[in-house]
Symmetry: C2
DNA sequence: TTTTATTCCTACCTTTTCAATAGGTTATAT
DNA sequence: ATATAACCTATTGAAAAGGTAGGAATAAAA
């Protein structure tokens, strides 16, 4: 039940981009330096976030990334779901629409469905704007 | 963010024991047959559950396991937490009391703390009794 | 037009975790 | 005694995690 570094780094990268929203395109070099995450690893994370069109990119000199939408319109759920692939607690919930075979008869599935439900509700309620507003002071340390 | 097979199997084993509460000691052989889980693997799961004293055991002929408490007094949180080791979404929350270094300054930690909070609250509200009462019909399929 | 700075793409690598299997030892009702 | 169970420890194969590495494509600036 741990969130992977890919998920955690994605969140930090998106927060960083939110903190520099309206400053044009931000390079991975800058994010890497500020967040102390390998630039090469950040490169690999980008495609996951772009599956859900969370970023705009510009190549070449003075290029970089910016949020595709205003920080108030991007939620922690979107970010973590994009990065992790899925936030369901059991993989049999991922293969919609059939779930696994005969899930209608599974005694534990409703527990996991309920769990997924509250996780999604919680993360849907948190936007990038919320995050940076609730944390005005500079942040030096990360997880 | 997936629950491992150890967690899922633990839940199924405990539900099985709840369904046969007051029938004396239940052998792993029986649970293995009913739940279609390798008996050898179940053996390895037991110690995790017993760290939190969820089971009573009897060795030898006619031996087996029984729940250490009434099904209404054992929650999904206890079972999954025992099996998984921890249900925190980030490992830096595990090393109490210091968390990681300088978590007071971490912008993302409050998000994960809030997430952990709702997960725990949800799973604490589900007892083994609840689970078997909400699922009277026989269950043939598992995840 | 050349240089420089960036994203983009693919392959590789090392370590850890997952999910078991295997073989034996100890205890205990019958 | 003997069958039947829990208990214990080691091993293994596959997959995932968490990166590193090198270069190609692109575009702004000099």
């Amino acid at each position: 039940m741990k969130i992977s570094t890919r998920g955690r780094y994605s969140l930090r990268m998106m927060i960083d981009l939110a903190q520099h929203y309206n400053e044009g395109f931000i390079s991975l070099k800058d994010i890497s330096a500020r967040q102390n995450i390998s630039k090469k690893y950040l490169e690999q994370i980008i495609p996951f976030l772009n599956r859900n069109n969370l970023l705009n990119a510009n190549k070449g000199h003075m290029g970089g990334y910016q949020l595709a939408r205003h920080p108030s319109k991007i939620t922690a759920r979107e970010i973590l779901e994009s990065a992790e692939g899925s936030l369901t607690p059991v993989s049999c919930m991922d293969n919609v629409p059939n779930l696994c075979e005969n899930c209608g008869n599974c005694i534990t599935l409703p527990i996991y469905e309920g769990l997924y439900d509250i996780i999604i509700k919680y993360l849907d309620g948190i936007t990038l704007e919320d995050i940076i507003n609730n944390h005005k002071s500079s942040c030096e340390y990360y997880i």
